[in-house]
């Protein structure tokens, strides 16, 4: 299988999955007139304090079963952020397969940078 096609499909699949989740979340949010115990008017205020920092991955996943619009929207955004991460992992595999060791190393460095941003830096930030 052509490697470029694999990368291409991963990117497209991520964007489409995200779009579907965002659309579902938006519809649920308006149908229910709110989400996660917040009213839609408090969610939509420009200076609202309802934002991503209150929604870690575990909380978002558990909110899906009760059709909370915000959880669907935030999962859609998480899928979007995860798409390039999956793409980088796939690139590691591609370079391994091609035995291009320099690029296996370079791609792993990029992957580590991403993991630092996802897991290490948030832990260092003081709220």
């Amino acid at each position: 299988m052509n490697m470029n096609y694999a990368v291409s499909y991963v990117l497209m699949a991520g964007v489409i999955a995200s779009l579907l989740l965002l659309t579902t979340g938006i519809i649920l949010l308006f149908l229910n007139g709110g989400s996660n115990g917040f009213s839609i008017s408090s969610i939509s205020r420009t200076d609202t304090h309802i934002n991503s920092s209150q929604f870690p991955v575990s909380a978002v996943l558990s909110g899906l079963s009760t059709y909370q619009g915000l959880d669907f929207i935030l999962l859609g955004l998480m899928v979007l952020i995860a798409t390039p991460v999956v793409r980088v992992l796939l690139s590691v595999l591609i370079f391994l397969y091609k035995r291009n060791w320099l690029y296996v190393a370079i791609t792993l460095i990029v992957f580590i940078d991403l993991m630092v941003a996802v897991f290490v830096v948030p832990g260092l930030l003081v709220h």
Binding site: N4, Y5, V7, S8, Y9, L11, M12, G14, V15, S18, L19, L22, T23, G25, I26, L29, F30, I40, S41, I43, S44, T46, D47, T48, I50, N51, S52, S53, Q54, L70, I73, L74, G76, L77, L80, I81, A82, T83, P84, V85, R87, V88, S91, I94, N100, L102, Y103, I106, T107, I109, V110, D113, L114, V116, A117, V118, V121, P122, L125
Partner: protein, 284 residues
């Protein structure tokens, strides 16, 4: 009822930003942030957060097509992402410092400057699409900066090779920093790094830049998430709008041969850049 109208307005803002971003070549982020802050009165951090995640969507969508056509060079892209991701981490931490200290007016000024500087290559492009004289150096060999693509217009395979990898890497560090600091894709800066810095052909440069933006923006977005800069009610319509708008824009770009409409967008964006600076100085 008013809330649903407000939501549709956000969607339309994203749509317009996507179209203008694609047709001007600047990307949706740099267009949508002034609209959200100046027109909607949304705080800069929420505007930047929505823009940054939207940037991942448009970049991934465009890169998907470019990778299939082999226009984007995965090796060159990956090697430069080392610098863009580190820059993005530094940039988003700097943004956290700026917002925590309530000095976001500096970011408005910087945003205006970056927007105006980004316009320069777009104006210049009209005068000459020059052919670069290729230079090979030790980085060409070591980092395997060569490749080929099929040029549909000229109906032949074009071979190319880049050089001065270190210069590209240095420009990418700045591009990553701006991306994390301002919530934009920094596509213009990335293109400059590869075009002027590494002497790569323009088609490869723009495609590879799109390919890279997703990873850079994902790095910044992960940190923005924890900082709470991503507001779902703003981000959702902006992402959907920009994605659809960018798609429409790319089709319109193929059809409209006239440069007038592009020129009009560039002039409007120039005014927007000045508006952002004035806002930063507290005038507007």
């Amino acid at each position: 009822m008013i809330i649903i109208l407000y939501f549709i307005a956000l969607l339309v803002a994203g749509l317009a930003a996507g179209i203008i971003g694609a047709m001007s070549g600047l990307g949706g982020g740099v267009v949508v942030i002034p609209v959200l802050t100046l027109l909607f009165g949304i705080p800069l951090e929420y505007a930047a957060g929505a823009s940054l995640v939207a940037t991942i969507a448009t970049s991934s969508g465009a890169a998907s097509a470019y990778v299939k056509d082999k226009l984007a060079n995965i090796r060159i892209g990956m090697s430069l992402e080392v610098a863009t991701t580190l820059g993005a981490i530094a940039g988003s931490l700097l943004a956290a410092y700026v917002y925590a200290h309530g000095i976001s007016s500096y970011l408005f000024i910087l945003f205006g400057v970056v927007l105006l500087v980004s316009l320069y290559p777009s104006f210049k492009k009209y005068r000459n699409a020059r052919r670069k004289n290729e230079i090979r150096d030790w980085t060409t060999q070591l980092f395997q900066l060569s490749g080929s693509y099929y040029d549909k217009a000229r109906k032949r395979v074009v071979r190319y090779s880049g050089s001065r990898w270190w210069l590209g890497e240095a420009v990418m560090a700045v591009a990553g920093l701006m991306s994390g600091l301002l919530g934009i894709g920094s596509g213009v800066l990335k293109v400059m790094g590869m075009d002027w810095g590494m002497r790569l052909p323009m088609k490869v440069t723009t495609a590879t830049s799109n390919f890279m933006i997703g990873v850079t923006a994902a790095t910044g977005s992960a940190i923005y998430w924890e900082l709470g800069y991503i507001q779902p009610f703003i981000a959702a319509p902006v992402v959907v709008g920009i994605l659809i708008g960018a798609y429409i824009g790319s089709i319109l770009l193929d059809r409209t041969r006239g440069r007038n409409i592009r020129m009009l967008f560039l002039v409007v964006l120039g005014i927007v850049g000045i508006e952002m600076m004035l806002r930063g100085f507290g005038v507007a």
